[in-house]
Amino acid sequence: MPHGPASYGNPMRIVVTAKYVPDISTERGFADGRVVRTAAEGTLNELDENAIEAALQLVEAGRASGAVGADEGEVVVVTMAGPDGDMALRKAFQLGVDRGVRVTGDELAGSDYFGTAAVLAAAVRRLGQEAPVDLVVTGMAALDGLGSVVPTLLGAELGLPTLNLAKKVELADGVLTVTREVDDTTEVLSAPLPAVLSVTDGANSPRLPGFKLIMAARTKQIEVWSPADLGLAADAAGTAGARTEVLVAAPRPPRAEPEIVTDKGEGGIALADYLIRNDLVRPAEETR
């Protein structure tokens, strides 16, 4: 990717990667070892809204500083999906992103983490050929797979420094500094742009779509690219390139009907009784 001079003072060009996922409040399932994604119940991965928000804020901060023009800077959202994935891009348009790209092709189905990262990286590189990309922003995870590793692999694929799971993001003089709280550790990390950044759901509060943007999003042009457009080899992604093979995907049996007690003064005793009866209370010497 061409390296552009990037900091406040120059308009920022940011790519956000997004995923079209089944709505987590609906029944989700598999068919032929792959996640079922249908238009009726699919949505923009909620955590990608935090990525879009972070990108918009960075572009807007540049404009607010007065150093760049009010129409300078750009946020491009890229998704790898079938035609239903346009719903995710329309949602991104509603939030105010400038461009939406869908990378699509039957041969991409069944991509593993590495294949997904390879496709997204190829799309970022192509955008970089048009004009330098300063930053790639992703959400912390997709709410269907929850792997959280594609941002890391995307950074490695692009050969860019990667700052993951940022709760706080600062940009000064072309250097990005993030604070992340992962597991039991707080880290402050920094890297020069261009870079890959993933943000958590605690990083910001995504904006609500505005009426004008909602109207405009309906008819906004979506760019559709094929793997061939991106110069991807046939086994770069999809089932052909996957390093794992799904053997079984089966729904678990529903839980038995619960035992429900309404507290009339002895609810706590009933709870203790249930735990002891089911051997869920360890002896005193084992509890700390």
Binding site: I24, D112, V149, L153, A156, A250, R252, I260, D263, L271
Partner: protein, 327 residues
Amino acid sequence: MTHSNRTVLVLLDPATEVRPSALELLTLARDLGRVEAVTLEAPTVEVLAQLGGHGVETVHQAELSRDGECVTGDERHLPAVVAAALAAAVRLTDADVVLLPTSFAAKEAAALAARDLGAGLVIDAASVREADGRVVAGKRVFAGAWDTECAVTTDVAVVTVRANSVVARPAPAAVEPVVEGYAVELAPSPVTLVSREVKADTSGRPPLDQAAVVVAGGRGTEGDFGPVVELADALGAAVGASRDAAFEGWWDTYVGQTGVTVAPRLYIGAGISGAPHHRGGMQASQVIVAVNSDPEAPIFEICDFAVVGELAEVLPQAAAEIRRRRG
């Protein structure tokens, strides 16, 4: 124990303690083949004894350098550094499988190591076994509603395993581990570690991500986690919150899809309605108990036992009864 001639590497980072999840990894690893550990620092005497008790014959201790300079200190724990150490250890030992815990940092390290090695990657496995000469990992997905299994089709498999996947058990016979250093040359890093701080846990409670019992509080606590903590302490449990409660600042760690994913033997949710985000972080728990004043709370749809009532009354009463009956 199988008679497989596989070599299985287990990441132990930090090497100053053996967490419950590490013992579980060693237990799983012994069923797959010969177990060796990888560390980024010298293991303590106590750690070595524990590793020996779990059948670890060799500990590979990475000796990190960059441009001829030794790399020490906090930077050793960065995912890119851990990944380089793991990849070098696989090449050194010709290992077939690498097992790591499912922490955010370990997932990053696993991804980078797998990429470097051209290895298949499974994140958050609930089981790992061998079938027809391949490593097969089981996962519980979609908030615990589906079980999947996938086979790794490459020579090397890198797998992160969720806590409480197996009951840790020591090896039939303890061994005396040998620590062997090996050189790892690190590439220049474009990322600078400005600061790193590990939260000291002085609560005396087990860590949330590894605990066998978890008591979690939500909006219904109205900010008072006293009753939640009291029941947790009576049970020797870890304490967590819902995302809402954590974002309110009522507790610092939360259970949920983007927080800590837990699958304990017993999960008790108090004043938690059971929004999809939360359910995604706990629905794989073995036994689920809910206490909520709202009889329509969605969490009642996925629980085994529930009390409809005020948590401020129910929890302390339950804690007192447990203390009394346990004597």
